[in-house]
């Protein structure tokens, strides 16, 4: 009887409040972007009369996703701590240049892979150091080093391209090296992020840095670790890039930082970091972008219009997936 009275007296929740409750559920950040991806695939499948489901199309889709997906998985460690880095494309480009140069000098594929990964790790650690030791905001670091790394790539490569043996690239591409490397990296990231103390610390720091500091955590150390983890992924993406084209040019990696950010946000990752962050958003986002591009192309839409559609869908999904703050969102960058 008392319960019935209490239920009757309770105010009815508004629709927006109900939506907010659903959005705040832990699984929402996975379920929502995944549903959108499945919806897109089904819609394009139906619109193309099933052609979208062909093995070659789906394989092409996954191949396109691999580089951006790996990089997006990598940067999720940085985003989790509430930091942003849009220089990852340039880091990847410079890592690929270093790898290709070493291959040109030694013709040793193991050295090439090792150099690309180590160079990327060192560059990311340099970015992290600028942020942690010299207190420069990560976004500002990214803006400066992005231009700097692009200039170094242009200076080193010039108008030519650095070639890597085509047969070797083909062998690595067909031999399942890329899938194997990606799966191993993705699983390691998933475990490190969701099932270790380090992952919990990164999320905690992203959620409330001051509170984390007072709890005894070391944000500077955590940020360095996040840049290190990102560096490994970006190095692997650099190797994928070399394998995919068999050459590295002055424009390798240009604008990729933006694509990675686009994919990460589209996949449901919070740009503010914190407890709701995850490692799988990047791959979901990258798959969504690829599916959208491929599907619209198969429907005969021009690439110019596809970009516009991508923009509209991106803004719509980000709006639906993000919390609406009471004041205007801002972040001190400078």
């Amino acid at each position: 009887m008392t319960n019935t009275i209490a239920v009757k007296a309770a105010p009815r929740l508004k629709l927006t409040d109900r939506i907010d409750i659903i959005k705040n559920k832990r699984m929402f950040s996975l379920a929502f972007p995944l549903s959108i991806l499945l919806l897109l695939i089904l819609a394009f499948g139906a619109a193309t009369g099933g052609a979208f489901f062909r093995g070659t199309v789906l394989k092409g889709l996954f191949d396109q996703t691999l580089i951006i997906g790996t990089m997006a998985t990598a940067v999720s460690f940085i985003y989790t701590t509430g930091n942003l880095d849009i220089s990852v494309g340039s880091v990847m480009g410079l890592g690929a240049v270093a790898g290709a140069l070493v291959y040109g000098a030694t013709e040793n594929v193991v050295l090439m892979i090792g150099t690309a990964i180590i160079a990327s790790i060192l560059l990311m650690l340099f970015n992290g150091t600028l942020s942690v030791v010299f207190n420069i905001k990560t976004t500002m670091v990214a803006v400066v080093v992005m231009q700097l790394y692009n200039a170094i790539i242009s200076e080193v490569v010039g108008a030519d391209t650095l070639k890597v043996d085509f047969q070797l690239c083909k062998m690595l591409e067909d031999g399942g090296f890329r899938y194997g490397a990606f799966i191993i990296y993705f699983v390691v990231c998933l475990l490190a992020f969701h099932f270790t103390e380090m992952g919990r610390q990164l999320r905690f720091i992203g959620g409330n840095k001051k509170c984390a500091e007072q709890t005894g955590m070391n944000p500077k150390k955590a940020i360095c670790i996040s840049f290190l983890m990102a560096g490994i992924g970006i190095g692997i993406a650099a190797v994928f890039t070399i394998i995919r084209t068999g050459s590295v040019g002055s424009t390798t990696g240009n604008g990729m930082g933006m694509d990675v950010m686009l994919a990460t946000v589209l996949g449901g990752m919070s740009i503010f970091g914190g407890a709701k962050s995850n490692t799988y958003s990047g791959i979901i986002g990258a798959l969504t972008v690829s599916a959208l591009n491929k599907g619209l192309l198969m429907l005969g839409v021009s690439s110019t219009v596809i970009q516009g559609v991508r923009g509209v869908i991106f803004l719509l999904l980000v709006f639906l997936n993000s919390e609406r703050p009471s004041t205007l969102p801002a972040r001190e960058q400078f």
């Binding site: 231009q147 700097l148 242009s154 970009q307 923009g311």
Partner: protein, 343 residues
């Protein structure tokens, strides 16, 4: 006595404000004279090139500053520039309005684009960087698809020579400095903007409409980027539309003049004049490196290394201040100890 102190303070501020551009010019002059056998600015063509590129950089840096100082990094500013110039410029050329018409209409379209981004931001409340990415994609698509993907061509078009006229460039620069200084420092808009920069929540609680002010900032930034775009197009002859978020490069390129300008402006509390002098310093440096026949990638390596050093200095200036204060305290303590010892 008070007047004398005031005068020496003003003199100190003037020296501090002019120090960076003057030192830059002096160093560049020495380097160019000793390595290339020529000065940084030796003829009227150099002056023209400096002024034309300076106005572009100054206008764009001002636009970035409109939002960045309030914690909003607008990555769509470059795309707004393309929209403003391609639509506004082509409409003006179609109507036969000449150079002034191209400038005015481009700025108007740029302002409309800024208004659109501002309204979207206030209503969607997505992080400005993320919103900027989405809007860039849409604006680039629109500016690329329009006018047969030709962009804006000003080369050999009748009536647009005025955009290369030194007197006109100087007049526009003067108007920009005066208007933006008034808006930022002496108008109620600027007062509210500074209050919001201090603390958005407090400003809102004290009755300031943070949403209207934010939209006004976006509109102003839109008009300024379009102005920058028109003078850049007049300098290069044409503006080719871009895709794939390449328009963001314009934003990144003009960060250094803005950052240096804010440092210079901090001495006199005049950010607009500071940004003008910051842009001048960067342009002098670029001209100096060009005279050394350096390729653009090497120029960028030097310029962005300096930008990095500037950032390191800016974010660690307090450490130098602390060290200076510590040294002064130690000196004072030693003097006191010596005085006590004598007594």
């Amino acid at each position: 006595m008070a007047e004398k102190t005031k005068k020496s303070l003003t003199g100190k501020i003037v020296v501090q404000t002019l120090a960076i551009p003057l030192i830059t010019w002096a160093v560049c002059e020495i380097i160019d004279r000793s390595l290339a056998g020529t000065g940084v600015i030796t003829n009227i063509a150099d002056v023209k090139a400096l002024l034309r590129t300076l106005l572009t950089s100054f206008s764009f840096a001002l636009a970035i500053n409109c939002n960045l100082s309030s914690g909003r990094m607008d990555l769509s500013a470059g795309a707004q520039m393309y929209m403003g110039c391609i639509f506004g410029g082509n409409i003006a050329l179609g109507l036969g309005l000449g150079g002034v018409g191209v400038l005015v209409l481009s700025m108007a379209v740029g302002a409309v684009c800024g208004l659109l981004v501002g309204v979207l931001f206030v209503n969607l409340r997505i992080l400005p960087m993320v919103l900027g990415l989405g809007v860039s994609l849409i604006f680039e698509c629109m500016s690329f698809g329009a006018y047969d993907q030709q962009g804006l061509k000003l080369f050999a078009k009748p009536g647009v020579e005025i955009l290369s006229n030194v007197a006109f460039i100087l007049a526009v620069a003067f108007i920009l400095v005066a208007a933006v200084t008034y808006l930022f420092q002496y108008s109620s808009f600027g007062y509210r903007r500074r209050a919001i920069q201090g603390n958005q929540k407090l400003a809102s609680d004290s009755g300031i409409n943070i949403y209207t002010n934010c939209i006004q900032c976006y509109v102003l930034a839109g008009a300024l980027v379009a102005c920058a775009g028109v003078f850049d197009t007049a300098y290069t002859g044409g503006l080719t539309p871009v895709m794939g978020m390449s328009s963001n490069t314009q934003v990144f390129k003009n960060m250094f003049p803005m950052a240096l300008g804010l440092l210079i402006g901090s001495y006199s509390q005049k950010p607009v004049v500071g940004i003008l002098l910051g842009s001048l310093s960067v342009k002098l440096l670029t001209m100096c490196l060009s005279k050394l026949a350096m390729d653009s990638s090497m120029q960028n390596i030097i310029i962005y290394s300096l930008f990095l050093l500037l950032n390191i200095y800016r974010m660690n200036a307090y450490r130098f201040e602390h060290a200076k204060e510590k040294r002064a305290r130690i000196r004072e303590a030693r003097e006191m100890k010596a005085a006590l010892g004598k007594a």
